[in-house]
Symmetry: C2
Subunit: 158 residues, 2 copies
């Protein structure tokens, strides 16, 4: 659970900044590491390790699966990347965001979206009042039906 030796989560403006942080925190700057980070910058949203390893569908350099998993884990330990579990299926990775946005996932159409933590403050408070739990939707999202599916399905089966 412990975060690494350096500062908290870093907002990453560009690839070189992230690589500086990598070096500053004692990891080496290698080609696969650089490619991985470039791929995350190029990704349209959270992507699976497999998608990263296969270069986002061939548009960028391939990497070894095991190396990708290992690097994602190490970079996550340093607070440079993070991942979220959107419903079933593999974890989705992204560069760490300063605000650690929270996720919602529609189990009807599969869509997901991110919101600023402040938007869910009232919900978190309601959960705390009802159960004492301090909810966090950064790693495991709120799952349910998105507005569009609610509209389309009306009152479908629970």
């Amino acid at each position: 659970m412990a975060r690494a030796n350096a500062g908290p989560i870093l907002a990453a403006p560009d690839v070189e900044t992230v690589l500086s942080a990598v070096r500053a925190r004692g990891l080496r700057v290698t080609t696969p590491r650089r490619v991985l980070i470039e791929t995350l910058f190029a990704a349209p949203g959270p992507v699976s390790a497999e998608e990263i390893a296969s270069g986002l569908g061939g548009t960028r350099a391939d990497l070894d699966d095991a190396s990708v998993y290992g690097n994602l884990e190490r970079l996550e330990a340093l607070g440079l990347v993070r991942h979220v579990h959107l419903g079933h299926g593999p974890g989705k990775w992204m560069l760490a965001d300063r605000a650690r946005r929270e996720y919602l996932h529609c189990d009807s159409c599969g869509a997901s979206e991110a919101v600023e933590p402040s938007a869910l403050a009232p919900a978190r408070e309601a959960i705390r009042a009802a159960t004492g739990y301090e909810a966090r939707f950064t790693h495991f999202p709120i799952v349910g039906r998105c507005p569009q599916c609610v509209r389309e399905a009306g009152d479908g089966p629970g």
Copy 2:
């Protein structure tokens, strides 16, 4: 009970009632099926398919893994059992409950608990107001820190 020939979710008072529903819905009553249901009644809470197949740690008859998975799936389709994904790790199965209780999971100590849906109505409403999502915590729980871990950890890193 009052003729459960096809209604939606059935609250299961005992093994024989569930087996009657199994037969009423066109499935055969076989020994493995009976054992599976007895095991779910004997379980202390939601249990994994693997735990069911190995007889809750050897205290009851073993079953084949693949048969357990297949039967859980079929029984779930009939509304007789259901499962929840508590954090990482395998899905946890249980007999269907009339109220379809919702789950909370502590990613700090691993504990989980179930609450009546009504308890989370205000939270669901806050989520709807903020995002338009219709949240449901029956299949994917609210994840965060339980009251005890909040108390012990104070205000640790998010």
